[in-house]
């Protein structure tokens, strides 16, 4: 078979199918999303039946996969690093209770971070949970490690974590395909309540068993770090690297003529770290440089007096280890002068922004215009970009906005003074993920807040995974729908209104009524569902009314539309000193009309001259 050209996440998906995995579950999150998306795309390659699901959140995805493994079959669950925080509860206990069929947990970390609320290191989490973790250095290696992880998981009856990072997930490489295995396993759940339902009485024994497994694994030579030996010219010195840092350091050492001169180790399993290796380093090297992302996981396990890395400042303690950062670390470690490079990149470039025509922008503009003194807790998704419009004050973690709204409300209310309007925005997928318990809590805690659910009928940020009210399964087959309105009412909310933010007057009227409800004696939480499809959905874009937008000469050049509305299709013509429409970017939605204080932005029907 000829090589395939695969993104790291696709390579992992391919590995899952090749290994005879019969369940893949996930909640989408950058940089992990394409793993299960690719399992969907490659599903016809599977010989055994395969259940694929976009679960409502990571905890659920984990638990579904766990029970699949209890039946003796192979299961995989994928998430981004902060998703593991959500799945932490089942994850921690799984280490003690173990698994039957292989259970591979793929957790994609995001050093930098590029698309996350922090840059936590899941290898540290694996060590905390006492679960073995593999750290791939390339897409092809990530694919190979999937089979390795399944085999190890079944051998030890333990979950195994595969921890790629953004630069593995979103790199592409030629990957030689392997044959797809047919394991033909039939579900056979063996009841064993002292294990699967272990009460505290049984846990010390299970913990002892776990520690015994880890002791054996830390002496297992299959996972001893691999040495690319030097020629003795750099005696007593070595570089230890893991993940993408290994690949980047290899390219740099080669370019500097040092590959094959200096001893260079790749750590494939950072936890448990091979104990013989730790002893060897101490006995054979005076100085050791450790390159890993993002926390000092290997470094902290090396008991070595000549250790260089994050501890002694050779490696920066935060941010991504790019080739330039690693080059500087190598120079410091080897005592070479580091060329001061004049050509330093000027920042990160243009910031991202809501798409032209995005219904969230229309909703945000209405909210902040109506409540200029409001407090605006928001959440994780495309709509985080409401920050640019000044319509988002807090972003924390999935679902936090509603609970934060409650916290703000009670803090202000207990002062006995005027409570500012508290208007929370949360996306539809985020609402299903973690917003429902928070909404019940808000009702029960008598918070007087407006919750705007931004319903664009998709998980937009991560590339349009289906949401529970859409009625679509991961493979595109029909599924039951769970309407948001019903959920909101069932949570005890008495004010629920729904409409498109494209109809500005009606939308503002809804917001006013919602706010009035929060101020009535018997009022409480009010929910507004802002409903309009995401325009990345081509059908939505092509079927909605399209206006011909123009800026009239009455424009005063105040730039308020640029600052307050921030649509990429509204630009400023410096020569004419007024705003203008970029016809290449404008989708003709017409939602920018209210953004002009003097009415100079005009929407004409497309057909009009």
């Amino acid at each position: 078979m000829t090589d395939l050209f695969l993104m790291g996440n696709e390579a992992i998906a391919r590995g899952l199918i090749e290994a005879g995995c019969t369940l893949a579950s996930a909640y989408p999150g950058t940089p992990s999303t394409e793993i299960v998306q690719a399992v969907v795309n490659f599903r016809d390659l599977a010989i055994d039946p395969l259940h694929i699901e976009w679960s409502v959140n990571e905890k659920i995805a984990f638990e579904v996969a766990l029970a699949h493994s209890y039946t003796g079959k192979r299961a995989a669950v994928a998430m981004k690093q902060v998703g593991l925080n959500v799945a932490a509860d089942p994850f921690m206990r799984t280490a003690y209770l173990g698994v039957k069929g292989g259970l591979v947990l793929v957790v994609a970390d995001d050093p930098g971070p590029h698309s996350s609320q922090n840059e936590q290191d899941s290898r540290q989490f694996a060590a905390f949970a006492r679960v073995p973790v593999l750290d791939p250095a390339s897409p092809a290696e990530a694919r190979d490690m999937v089979a390795e992880a399944f085999a190890l998981s079944e051998e030890l009856e333990m979950p195994v974590m595969l921890r790629p990072t953004t630069r593995i997930c979103h790199a592409r490489q030629n990957v030689p395909p392997r044959e797809v295995q047919a394991l033909r396993r039939v579900s056979a759940f063996q009841k064993e309540p002292t294990r699967w339902a272990a009460t505290p009485a049984f846990l010390p024994a299970l913990h002892r068993e776990l520690n015994g497994k880890l002791d054996r694994l830390s002496g297992d030579d299959r996972f001893r770090p691999q040495l690319t030996p030097g020629d003795g010219s750099c005696a007593g010195v070595c570089v230890v690297a893991a993940g993408i840092c290994f690949a980047t350091a290899a390219d740099l050492l080669e370019a500097q003529g040092l590959l094959g001169k200096i001893d260079f180790f790749q750590v494939r399993m950072p936890y448990p770290l091979h104990t013989g290796f730790i002893g060897d380093l101490k006995a054979r090297y005076r100085r050791v440089l450790v390159l890993e992302e993002t926390y000092p996981v290997i470094e902290d396990r090396l008991d070595h007096p000549g250790l260089s890395g994050r501890g002694d400042g050779t490696v920066p303690r935060e941010g991504e280890l790019t080739p330039d950062v690693i080059a500087a670390a190598l120079d410091r470690f080897l005592g070479r002068p580091h060329p001061e490079d004049a050509a330093v990149a000027a920042g990160r470039g243009r910031r991202p922004s809501l798409c032209p025509g995005c219904p969230h922008r229309a909703a945000f503009h209405a909210i902040k215009t109506l409540f200029p003194k409001g407090i605006f807790p928001s959440d994780i998704g495309c709509y985080t970009l409401g920050l640019n419009l000044g319509a988002v004050d807090t972003v924390h973690c999935m679902g936090a906005c509603i609970s934060q709204g409650v916290g703000f409300y009670h803090a202000y209310a207990q002062d006995g003074l005027d409570v500012p309007p508290i208007v929370v925005t949360i996306g539809d997928s985020t609402f299903f993920h973690a917003g429902i318990p928070a909404l019940i809590n808000a009702v029960v805690q008598r918070a007087r807040i407006v919750v705007v659910i931004l319903d664009n009928a998709t998980t937009a940020m991560t590339g349009h995974q289906p949401v529970p009210h859409l009625g679509l399964a991961a493979d595109g087959s029909p599924a039951p729908t769970v309407p948001i309105e019903n959920l909101v009412r069932a949570c005890g909310v008495s004010f629920v209104a729904e409409g498109t933010p494209y109809d500005r007057a009606a939308f503002e009227e809804m917001l006013r009524a919602a706010y009035a409800h929060t101020r009535q004696p018997d009022g409480g939480v009010a929910v507004v569902i802002s409903r309009h499809p995401c325009l990345m959905d081509r059908r939505a874009c092509l079927t909605q009314k399209r206006y011909r937008m123009r800026v009239e000469t009455s424009c005063t050049g105040c730039r308020r539309c640029l600052k307050q509305f921030e649509c990429a299709a509204i630009v400023f013509n410096e020569d004419a000193n007024r705003a203008a429409i970029d016809p290449d970017l404008c989708v003709g939605c017409g939602t920018c009309v209210p953004a002009c204080p003097v009415g100079a932005i005009v929407a004409a029907d497309e057909e009009a001259p």
Partner: protein, 170 residues
């Protein structure tokens, strides 16, 4: 065959597609290829960067001052991603105005073709015509055919050929 390429643009300009076309064209020549791409939030109109490394590399990332070729779909990204280029690197920029690079008025051509997003393939055509890539016209055309959705094949090929026709028109 060994080449390090930087592809820079704004989310929505088709940087990912351009990256794949170049990478898979090199694969047709039997080369080993690594790419790194920007996904996630930055794709919403922000600055995005792809790198393509053709030849025996292990990391998809490019160190500062080492890239052989830059294809910029947005001139405003030059201060951000330009430092990745080595001295003497070839540089093609989608720009209406001339500059210290090969300027290609890709937006004008793409608008003429009725789809502003085609500017990416116009730039690629110009770079291939100037022989700046280690892949040729035939491999690129074949790759565009394979990677494009059936309805877009002809439009994409037209954009690429319009770029080719800009050869030497600097």
């Amino acid at each position: 065959m060994r080449q390090q390429i930087v592809i820079s643009g704004l989310g929505g300009q088709g940087v990912l597609f351009l990256t794949r076309v170049i990478a898979e064209s090199a694969l047709r020549r039997g080369a080993a290829v690594l790419t790194a791409e920007t996904h996630g939030m930055a794709q919403r109109g922000g600055s995005v960067l792809s790198t393509v490394k053709i030849g025996t590399f292990r990391s998809p990332l490019i160190a500062r001052g080492t890239a052989d070729l830059g294809l910029f779909l947005a001139a405003e990204n030059l201060p951000v991603h330009g430092p990745l280029l080595r001295e003497g690197a070839a540089l093609v920029v989608a720009a209406a105005e001339p500059g210290a690079y090969r300027a290609v008025d890709a937006a004008a051509v793409a608008r003429e073709l009725g789809a502003p997003v085609l500017a990416n393939l116009v730039v690629l055509g110009a770079a291939v015509a100037d022989d700046l890539l280690c892949v040729g016209r035939d491999e690129v055309e074949e790759t565009i055919r394979v990677l494009s959705p059936p309805k877009l094949v002809e439009g994409n090929l037209t954009a690429f050929r319009r770029g080719l026709a800009l050869a030497g028109s600097r």
